[in-house]
């Protein structure tokens, strides 16, 4: 449900895609009645080349080289990026994260969210158009499809043709290639959770664990289904981000826009017709902007939630304008303010520095810097102290009271460390029952039962009163004074 009057995104005010009397590829059924569910028509986007297409290819390559490649990178005798769920240790290059470090995951997610806000406020759905896995894998799958079955027209023809040996062969080749990419993707994905080389060896020896096999096949199926079959439907019907992007746009956000004032009235014409002649606008109504669109919309209807901001229509239209000898940019990145007030490039750029983007950027920088600083000064030692709850206290020797504690020492460093344990907070309090220094293996945990003893001489003036006392356990690495933890606990003196 949406309030038409307050709809935040401009929709086609004058010319609607449904009423268009001109010959365009039918996107919606033309019948007078419509169901609440419709049979989906497969979209065959036409190949597109140009500035933005080049950027997308570059980003697809960059993200996928990182994704497929990083899993194979060794680091200090282990995999550089490995999320060992069973051992609850998360290796990221030189750092080992423990579940206790979950705050850094929160920081990462906050940084990701703020980046999303910032980039969306600046230039719309950049994430959707260039970096989202749905876009990236669809792009890869469409590239495969294009190499095997040909471009849009050839594919449309093949779809309409009856089954023949050639069609069967092409379809088999396409799905085979898709499945191969999907399986490799699933294998790589699981390779971030199980060492990828061991996983490969196990797969070759047919000794994959049931869960590993399941997740490889699951991610393969998800990749194949999403990038091969679902495609734009994921963006249109499943992705929540497509729906809430509207609140992150404002009048000065760069969005892909058809310059209606310049383009209308649209119409076909000979190449020799100069702009403005015959009472026509610059839009030659060739329909190529619709043909290249991966979500099958007509950008000339205005900003729509289906638009993933891939800018394929800009590249396509610019080429047509070049051929016609018209100025580029009939479809371009521009802002609502710029269209209304006829602002130039410089003015648009100037308006990118507005409170919304500046605040997003400031918060983003602050959170990133705080996270990085915290990470750089992270203490590789963690200590938990749990006082034995079963007994309050006991008399170790006449005049000496002791309490029992479990002390868990976590060495998150990838080196063996030795620690001393000391206590403070009561006169004469000392740690007994543990051989010092305590050695803890690399990236592991050691649980110690130890006792704190304090003299409780009733005759003495500074004897501690009966009841609980705050004490502090100090665990310190013997070779590095900066690796130290002070953990508070309670020491009980009985009545």
């Amino acid at each position: 449900m949406e309030k038409l009057a307050d709809h935040p995104q401009p929709r086609a005010p004058a010319v609607s895609r449904h009423a268009s009397p001109r010959r365009v590829i039918p996107i919606q059924p033309t019948s007078d009645e419509a169901a609440l569910y419709e049979i989906r028509r497969k979209i065959h986007p036409r190949a597109v080349h140009g500035w933005f297409a080049g950027w997308r290819v570059a980003l697809v390559c960059a993200t996928q080289m990182a994704f497929y490649g990083l899993a194979w990178l060794p680091w200090n005798g282990r995999q550089a990026v490995l999320f060992d769920l069973a051992a609850r240790k998360f290796y990221l290059f030189g750092a080992v994260f423990w579940p206790q470090d979950v705050i850094y995951l929160a920081v990462l997610l906050i940084v990701a969210a703020l980046s999303l806000f910032l980039f969306t406020a600046l230039a719309g759905r950049l994430w959707c158009g260039y970096a989202c896995p749905q876009t990236v894998y669809t792009e890869i799958f469409m590239w495969i499809e294009r190499r095997i079955e040909g471009d849009r027209l050839a594919r449309l023809r093949l779809d309409g043709a009856p089954l023949s040996p050639r069609k069967f062969l092409l379809r088999t080749a396409k799905h085979g290639a898709w499945l191969a990419v999907a399986l490799w993707t699933g294998y790589t994905f699981v390779g971030y959770f199980t060492p990828i080389r061991e996983l490969g060896a196990a797969a070759l020896a047919r000794q994959l664990g049931a869960w590993e096999a399941f997740w490889i096949l699951f991610y393969a199926a998800a990749t194949y289904g999403n990038a091969g079959w679902l495609r734009e439907q994921v963006c249109k019907y499943m992705c929540p981000y497509a729906r809430f992007q509207g609140v992150m746009f404002d009048q000065d956000t760069l969005v892909i826009t058809y310059d209606r004032a310049r383009g209308e009235p649209r119409g076909g014409r000979a190449k020799s017709v100069v702009p403005g002649a015959k009472g026509l606008g610059d839009c030659v109504d060739c329909g190529i902007c619709v043909q290249v669109c991966p979500t099958g919309i007509d950008i000339r209807d205005g900003l729509q939630y289906d638009c993933i901001g891939c800018a394929a229509c800009i590249d396509a239209c610019d080429q047509v304008m070049d051929k016609m000898g018209y100025a580029r940019g009939l479809i371009r990145y521009t802002t609502q303010t710029a269209l209304e007030q006829g602002l130039g490039r410089a003015a648009i750029w100037k308006r990118t520095l507005r409170p919304r983007t500046l605040i997003y950027a400031a918060v983003l920088v602050a959170v990133t810097a705080a996270g990085a600083a915290s990470l750089a000064t992270r203490n590789p030692l963690r200590v938990d102290v749990i006082r034995d709850r079963g007994a309050l206290a006991r008399e170790a020797a006449p005049g000496r009271i002791e309490n029992v504690y479990r002390v868990q020492i976590m060495n998150t460093d990838e080196a063996v460390r030795r620690y001393t344990i000391a206590a403070s907070g009561l006169t004469g309090i000392e740690v007994v029952g543990v051989a010092q220094p305590v050695e803890v293996d690399a990236a592991s945990t050691r649980l110690l039962a130890l006792r704190l003893q304090a003299p409780v001489d009733a005759g003495s003036a500074n004897a501690p009163a009966a009841g609980p006392h705050r004490v502090e356990l100090t665990v310190r690495a013997i070779d590095d004074d900066s690796v130290v933890r002070h953990e508070p606990s309670t020491f009980i003196v009985p009545r």
């Binding site: 419509a34 169901a35 609440l36 569910y37 049979i39 007994a391 029952g433 039962a449």
Partner: protein
């Protein structure tokens, strides 16, 4: 099921569940057949025609048809689930799955996985197990789980719970006796002598008991108490008061005090007894809760506290 609910609730829940599922299916079917106007007089109609609050209208953004089939699939899934698993009131489900059954299966699977490990230890002498650092590490974890609540994380005990790390044993400290204590439990009873000895008699015996381990005590009372002790206490604690491991009677001549060494506490022990009226001083049997392998590892760990350095 609780005693307070009648079978009627089971039927009530089953009926609510089934009616809801059928209603979902009917709604889906009805919506699948709805047709809305697309164009009217050549003008496009983008909304479903529903109006709320005067101006609130609904766009028709049709979902793909396969989405509707997914909805139907969820209904099929729900029905299949309700047939196979317990979900419809008290109906047990065709697979006979229960949460307690799943728990026991998991425990059994885990025990099967560790069985070979424990079998290896069961074949060995307890002292040999105690010499194995890996076995001691397992034993320590078992101890922290099952024993530390009473005996302390360091096995040092507390009032009423014996220290397991020292050389003083109520029931004997060789591995087999320790294993027995864990498996079968111990039930130490010190009878109450208060009404028999009288308050004065109790104080005399307490003074004597304190003098046994060199603690300051009233000499006169201790002399009287010695005679009373020989008549009433020596049967269990021995004429020399060194205790009797067969009965769990503690040695009274050492510095180990299970309940405390002050005269007041000793007098309380004598007059009111220990363990008769309360569960304190009762070590519960663990043979029904822990298997032989775990008990052996625990015995080895406890024995090693004093004997393996």
């Amino acid at each position: 099921m609780s005693d307070f609910t009648s079978d009627g609730w089971s039927f009530y829940i089953a009926i609510v569940t089934l009616v809801s599922i059928i209603a979902c299916g009917a709604l889906l079917y009805a919506l699948g057949r709805v047709r809305v106007t697309r164009t009217e007089g050549g003008e496009p109609v983008e909304t479903t025609g529903h109006v709320w609050d005067g101006d609130l209208v609904e766009y028709n953004n049709p979902l793909p048809r396969w989405w509707m089939w997914l909805f139907y699939a969820t209904i099929v899934f729900a029905l299949a689930y309700l047939v196979l698993y317990p979900g419809l009131g008290k109906a047990p489900g065709a697979l006979g799955w229960t949460s307690t059954g799943a728990y026991s299966t998991e425990v059994r699977d885990f025990d099967a996985k560790t069985a070979s490990l424990y079998a290896h230890f069961l074949d060995q002498d307890t002292k040999a197990v105690a010499a194995d650092p890996g076995a001691r590490a397992i034993g320590e974890r078992l101890f922290l789980n099952y024993c530390a609540q009473c005996h302390g994380s360091d096995a040092g005990g507390s009032k009423g719970f014996p220290n397991l790390a020292d050389a003083d044993w109520l029931y004997g400290g060789d591995p087999e006796r320790i294993r027995e204590s864990i498996a079968n439990g111990r039930n130490g009873i010190m009878p109450a002598f208060g009404s028999f000895l009288g308050a004065d008699g109790v104080r005399n015996v307490a003074a004597y008991v304190r003098s046994l381990s060199g603690l300051p005590a009233d000499d006169v009372r201790a002399q009287v108490g010695k005679r009373v002790f020989a008549e009433n206490c020596a049967a269990c604690h021995g004429a020399d008061a060194k205790g009797n491991p067969a009965l769990g009677a503690p040695n009274l001549t050492d510095q180990t005090w299970l309940y405390g060494s002050t005269e007041a506490v000793i007098a309380e022990t004598i007059s009111r007894g220990r363990g008769e009226a309360s569960v304190v001083s009762r070590m519960p049997a663990h043979k029904d809760r822990l298997d032989d392998g775990k008990i052996k590892l625990l015995a080895a760990y406890v024995w090693a506290l004093l004997n393996v350095k």
